[in-house]
């Protein structure tokens, strides 16, 4: 939902970042306002996931220049956990397995830590159990998930549901979902997408990193950005995604080269 007067949640200006000394992000600009859904598309290796992880503060990515403001405040002044507490959520492309740590314990600690940081009440184990079970219904998840180890032995689809469950618990202002659709069959995709839709409000925003148009049938983006060579080379509305689906990325690249004379 585009509302030009809505609060700017995220402001990215000229962001450059390297991994192991190799520059992956080469100057990204992006503005996300409250209530908006953005999709970032682009071929493999274009830097989409790097962008997502750099925002969340993954230690392997070094920001070399540019700035990112979350509600006007310097995001890079915050540690990854502080970013999460401030309302940034990264839905992992490959959720990490943590054998031995129970999902319920993990979810409760995350929930209570973030609640505490926001000055809200924490829940004891029994209260939390009721609370999380309600949220799980939203995602059609079996309560048995709570007793398993975090993502350990989960199928691809189960892992992605668990990510969205965490989003539902942590109520982020800005959710960055990195290829949440990958590895999902069509039914699971619908469940996950519906879950995300129900979490979106005029006060928060989502950035979807995806390869495929199909997710965007369910979560309709206000903006579609095409990323290539560590830059956003084209921005359009939801129809751009459909066009990419039928025509591929090459024409966008040609257009960008023609416009800027740049090699990508």
């Amino acid at each position: 939902m585009i509302n030009a007067n809505a609060t700017v949640l995220l402001e990215v200006r000229g962001l450059r970042a390297t991994v192991a000394g190799v520059e992956i992000l080469k100057g990204i600009d992006l503005t996300v306002r409250a209530g908006e859904a953005h999709a970032i598309m682009g071929p493999n290796g274009s830097g989409k996931s790097t962008f997502a992880k750099a925002l969340a503060g993954h230690p392997a990515y070094e920001v070399t220049s540019g700035e990112v403001l979350l509600e006007g405040k310097d995001l890079f002044a915050l540690s990854p956990e502080e970013r999460a507490r401030a309302g940034v959520f990264l839905g992992f492309q490959y959720p990490v397995e943590i054998p031995g740590v129970s999902n319920s314990g993990f979810l409760r600690l995350a929930y209570n830590t973030v609640q505490g940081a926001r000055g809200r009440d924490e829940l004891d184990p029994l209260e939390f159990d009721d609370f999380v079970r309600e949220k799980m219904k939203l995602l059609d998840m079996d309560p048995g998930f709570l007793d398993r180890s975090v993502n350990d032995g989960f199928s691809g689809g189960e892992k992605k549901r668990n990510e969205i469950l965490q989003m539902a618990l942590l109520e982020p202002k800005l959710a960055i979902l990195d290829e949440t659709d990958s590895g999902l069959d069509i039914d699971a995709l619908r469940v996950v997408a519906n879950g995300v839709n129900r979490l979106l409000t005029p006060a928060n925003a989502v950035v979807l990193v995806t390869h495929y148009q199909r997710l965007l049938n369910y979560i309709v983006p206000d903006y579609v950005h095409v990323m290539e060579g560590g830059r956003i080379i084209k921005t359009g509305g939801k129809e751009l995604a459909l066009e990419l689906e039928t025509r591929g990325y090459d024409w966008v690249l040609e257009e960008y080269k023609g416009k800027t004379g740049a090699e990508v």
Partner: protein, 477 residues
């Protein structure tokens, strides 16, 4: 990577050695005269002096073992004083205790009245330790249980001590056990008569003389037919001790249908971040399931000492007897641990379970060494072993040395082992959910150790959980 992880595990030992000791010390060195002196000081009967001298003569013929996967400078056994009656300089009130130490107690959840005793404050000022100990003893005496220091037992119950001392760990069993047998100064004795279920957890907290058991500690626990007992050794609070070498011997005897559960939490000084100082802990712990259907279960949480050499074992002699070993060994900085168990199956249908969890951080080295031996007469014997190692950072080491000897074709022996690493990606996953590194590591470690912690008595389990977190706490900021 890993500056984060390094910071996390480089938490200094905050307590150091605060207790000044004035003591009645024998001259350094070990000879038959030293042993006679020890025995005389303790007014021991002749048979015990003979026991000591035999052990000493055997020890002289033995060599220090070199097979453990640990490195340390050669110990000069003539440069040690073997008799010392320590008189810890008592602090007069809790106000004199290092606030850091009190903070540790608080974090560990050590009960208020025990904090004083542990901190070395004259406990009678704070609470009446005598009356607590007395009440405790009376309650036990009502059901016929004997629980006292081994010196007292030698005086009061010589026939029992004589019958069982050295019956599980013979005087010449190994280098350190022989040394202990020659020079042990004190320790615990516990006797549970026929058919008695000990009504409470026996804890060394409440044993008289517990402060003075010294560096060569000797423990003997006997459970008669149908008796059962749960014994807790040590505590999660840091242990103050100025002796570098420790060589204890623990013997457990379970007669028909008896059940002994022995739990240890060890948090001795481990040396500084550079690996200087720290206690060398060479312990022989062994239980004999002498009777049919008897059971001995060892649970240990090892977090301290510069060097740990320790293999709590079970000799499964009685038919259908059961041996268990649950262990968490955590090493950090330059700590070295070579620990594990031995399960010796002799009787028919004997069963054993080994669950070992090794956690290595810093530059430490953590080895599991375990022997499962199935004797020729152990029809239908079964063993299950699981040895898991976890690495934190990239400069530490973990090894598993399983020895399996099967001499009976009806036996079934299973061994599983895993190695995992707390990775940057796992920590980042926690962070991205608002959880800082310290809490993340603590949660992962506790998850890893769950099966062992479940075996600990309730309050110990809570303390152990906190202890591991504390040992890995760092300056992550």
């Amino acid at each position: 990577m890993s500056t984060v992880l390094e910071n996390l595990v480089n938490q200094p030992y905050k307590h150091g050695f605060v207790t000044e000791i004035e003591s009645d010390v024998a001259p350094k060195g070990l000879s038959e005269d030293t042993i006679r002196l020890i025995s005389a000081k303790k007014n021991e009967p002749e048979w015990l002096l003979e026991f000591r001298l035999n052990a000493y003569r055997h020890w002289l013929t033995m060599a220090e073992p070199t097979w453990p996967n640990v490195r340390y400078p050669k110990i000069d056994f003539q440069n040690i004083s073997y008799y010392s009656a320590p008189k810890p300089k008592k602090l007069k009130s809790m106000d004199e205790v290092d606030p850091e130490l009190l903070r540790t107690f608080e974090k560990l959840g050590v009960p208020m009245n025990e904090r004083a005793a542990l901190a070395g404050v004259a406990v009678d000022v704070i609470f009446d330790s005598v009356s607590v100990a007395t009440t405790y003893k009376q309650k036990l005496a009502e059901v016929g249980i004997i629980f006292c220091s081994i010196s007292e037992a030698v005086r009061e119950h010589p026939e029992l001590v004589r019958k069982y001392l050295g019956s599980v760990v013979p005087t010449g069993d190994n280098f350190y056990a022989a040394l202990n047998s020659a020079v042990f100064t004190d320790g615990s004795f516990c006797f549970i008569p026929k058919g008695v279920k000990c009504p409470m957890e026996l804890s060394t907290y409440f044993r008289i003389n517990t402060q003075d058991s010294g560096q060569f500690e000797r423990t003997l626990i006997v459970a008669e037919e149908g008796a059962s007992v749960s014994y807790l050794e040590g505590c999660t609070a840091p242990k103050f001790d100025t002796n570098q070498l420790h060589a204890a011997v623990v013997e457990l005897v379970a007669l028909d249908r008896a059940d002994i559960k022995y739990s240890t939490v060890q948090n001795w000084y481990a040396g500084d971040e550079e690996g200087r100082g720290g206690i060398y802990n060479f312990v022989t712990k062994r239980g004999l399931c002498k009777g049919v259907n008897s059971k001995i279960s060892w649970t240990q949480v090892e977090t301290g000492s510069a060097i740990t050499w320790k293999y709590p074992s079970c000799v499964l002699l009685g038919d259908n007897s059961i041996g268990e070993f649950y262990s968490v060994a955590l090493t950090n900085h330059y700590q070295q641990a070579d620990t594990g168990t031995k399960m010796i199956h002799i009787g028919k249908n004997t069963r054993s379970t080994i669950i070992s969890k090794g956690i290595s951080a810093g530059r430490s080295n953590n080895s599991y060494r375990g022997l499962v031996r199935i004797g020729p007469k152990a029809e239908g014997a079964r063993n299950y072993s699981q040895c898991d190692s976890m690495l934190i950072g990239s400069k530490c080491g973990a090894n598993t040395f399983p020895y399996i000897q099967v001499h009976n074709s009806t036996a079934k022996v299973e061994h599983e082992a895993t190695t995992s690493k707390i990775g940057e990606d796992q920590l980042f996953y926690f962070q991205s959910r608002g959880i800082g590194n310290e809490e993340a590591v603590s949660m992962i470690i506790n998850g890893f150790c769950k099966e062992v912690f479940q075996q600990l008595p309730m309050e110990f389990a809570v303390e152990a959980t906190k202890l591991l977190g504390l040992k890995l706490e760092g300056s992550v900021g």
